[in-house]
């Protein structure tokens, strides 16, 4: 019997038991749709998180004083913000010491109230160097950024984040306007590009800050110990491949400068990559959990196929006997039932993928989470569904093929 003929026979059998075939397909359908949606949900979440983190500069390393928990302040003196200095930043900028570091920007920051006649706005004031712009992968939409001249002269200038500018000046042009911080009038020289909502991993809103030269901030606004110490040093690796080399170089140089060993290091270095890894690994765990539940649904669907096929074999025992009497070989019978099972799997897979895709369009509006579906996942799901049909069809089909023709004909 040709494959085409076998396929026709299988389709006939599926068609002539519509309700039963429909229910069997439903099991596969739900399983496939669930797998597609959960995997798509996970991929969507990962894509969003890594997109947000990459927007911060994927080649970024951040040196913080004290231990990893320094910013929490719980570690007391060890976490105090005075162990990193402007000199550290200058040393790391040296191409001979750290050839894999492309840019260095020391930064110190504090929450301050900005005042324009009639308007107050509390935001993060960041004191940093001109390299900050490229190191943090930002750009200027209006005006200009800080220059070395601004830094050398403690210039009273400031660059505002998009949100900050909007809050202070509304739709007026902020360039050339004056903003007071702690009584010091600063001239607005530029506005930063908007990067959208803050990354889920960071507490600061990247669009709401005021950036001024580090010298101006240290000497004329903050004062005190901030005159020489800095809160963070941002390092930009030459490429994402050079990230780990840049890390090693920075680590070795800072240990040497501070005269401490690895175990008593008074600073820590984190990469955006490590943030990314942490953030995505959480999502990944969630996705894997969901996907494994979905996979169980799919398995149950597969067992449903086997169950129905076994019922079908028992119910059609006379038909099998007749076919054998008319000359069907074991192989022909096995093929017939396998085709039937894979038709059920295929139909369930195609419908399930359809429902999954429809869900991917509808659901994001309800749960405000993106769902990414790759064509590979959709095709893979259909292949898996057919595989399940065949896999769980083998046992019933083999049983049908092995039935002796007279037993099959005799049974009423």
């Amino acid at each position: 019997m040709s494959w085409l003929e076998t396929l026709r026979t299988g389709l006939d059998a599926v068609r002539s038991h519509r309700l039963r075939s429909g229910l069997t397909m439903l099991g596969i359908l739900i399983g496939i749709a669930a797998v597609i949606l959960t995997v798509g949900f996970g991929e969507g979440a990962q894509a969003r998180v890594s997109g947000e983190i990459n927007a911060l500069g994927s080649n970024l390393l951040v040196v913080s004083p004290g231990s990893a928990t320094a910013t929490g302040g719980i570690r007391g003196g060890f976490g105090s913000a005075s162990t990193l200095t402007q000199a550290d930043a200058t040393a790391l900028a040296s191409k001979t010491v750290a050839p894999d570091i492309a840019g260095v920007a020391a930064a110190t920051q504090r929450s301050e109230t900005l005042t324009v006649t009639g308007t107050n706005w509390t935001t993060t004031v960041v004191g940093t160097t001109p390299d900050w712009l490229s190191v943090r992968a930002r750009s200027i939409t209006e005006g200009r950024f800080l220059t070395a001249a601004d830094e050398n002269t403690d210039a009273a200038v400031v660059v505002l984040g998009a949100t900050t500018a909007q809050e202070l000046f509304g739709f007026r042009d902020p360039i050339g306007q004056t903003v007071s911080v702690n009584g010091l009038p600063l001239t607005v020289i530029g506005v930063l590009n908007a990067v959208g909502a803050s990354a889920s991993s960071s507490t600061t809103n990247l669009d709401d800050q005021a950036v001024a030269p580090i010298t101006t901030v240290a000497n004329r606004i903050f004062g005190g110990s901030t005159r020489t110490s800095v809160q963070s040093i941002y390092l930009e690796a030459a490429s994402s491949g050079a990230l780990s080399a840049a890390y090693q170089e920075a680590n070795a140089e800072l240990l040497r400068l501070h005269g401490v060993s690895v175990t008593s290091a008074d600073f820590s270095i984190a990469s955006q990559q490590s943030l990314l890894t942490t953030a995505t690994s959480v999502d990944k765990t969630l996705t894997e959990l969901l996907a494994s539940i979905a996979a169980i649904a799919l398995l149950v669907g597969g067992i449903g196929v086997m169950n129905i096929m076994l019922v079908s074999v028992t119910e059609r025992i006379r038909e099998i006997g007749l076919r054998k009497a008319l000359g069907a070989t074991q192989r022909a019978i096995r093929r017939q039932f396998l085709v039937e099972a894979s038709v059920l799997g295929l139909a369930g897979g195609v419908l399930g993928t359809g429902f999954g895709l429809a869900g991917a369009v509808v659901l994001p509006h309800l749960i405000s989470n993106p769902i990414t579906i790759s064509p590979t996942a959709a095709v893979g799901a259909i292949v898996v569904a057919v595989g399940i049909g065949i896999g769980f069809g083998v046992y019933p089909a083999t049983r049908a093929a092995r039935l002796p023709p007279i037993d099959a004909l005799r049974s009423e």
């Binding site: 019997m1 040709s2 003929e5 006939d12 008319l326 000359g327 074991q330 007279i406 004909l409």
Partner: protein, 237 residues
Amino acid sequence: MTTASPLPVIDLQDVTKTYKTGALAVQAVRGVTLSIMPGEYVAIMGPSGSGKSTLMHILGCLDPLTTGSFWLAGQDVSRMSDDELAEVRNRRIGFVFQQFNLLPSLPAWRNVELPLCYAGLRRDERRRRAVAALRRVGLADRITHRPGELSGGQQQRVAIARALVTDPALVLADEPTGNLDSTATADVLALFDELHQSGRTIVLITHERDVAHRAGRVIRLRDGRVELDRDQAAVRS
């Protein structure tokens, strides 16, 4: 062409068949020797338990024999594998069952073409031969009807068309009139007479004396042995 063959269609030598059910061994056929020539119309009779169903299954290559030898149309079928037996059933034997055994979801012609599917014929050729076989049994106007839309007698005629479609050496009918009323029985038996006159070899299993008397030769079984083998044509003449 079967009539031209000098070989017997069926040649059984001392055939036995023993069924083992647990510790119990039942000998259903205890040494049957018989030979059926091409063109013969043979009725096998016997009370229930006489082994006639078992003999029918052996003749139909549906059940292997325990000892003895069985040659069907010049081939030794007692030593064949499952797949070879499937092919013999497909090419050499046309079955007619008491229960008709038609597939309810298929129209008449698709039921008739079924053996040709397993023979690997092309679709248009299968259809042509199926329609010819249906015409042969007088159902030219029922080609696309499903079994449920046909009377019992018509269904059995579809089954006979299916048995004839491969042009087999042997038509094997197991109680073909057992489920039919007297009109349909007369119909079907007339059809068998016709087939016999056109040279078909027919083996019919029945427990009805009237039916058996239409055949040229009657073989009566009792306790797994041939009790009587009578050529009625010879008796009549």
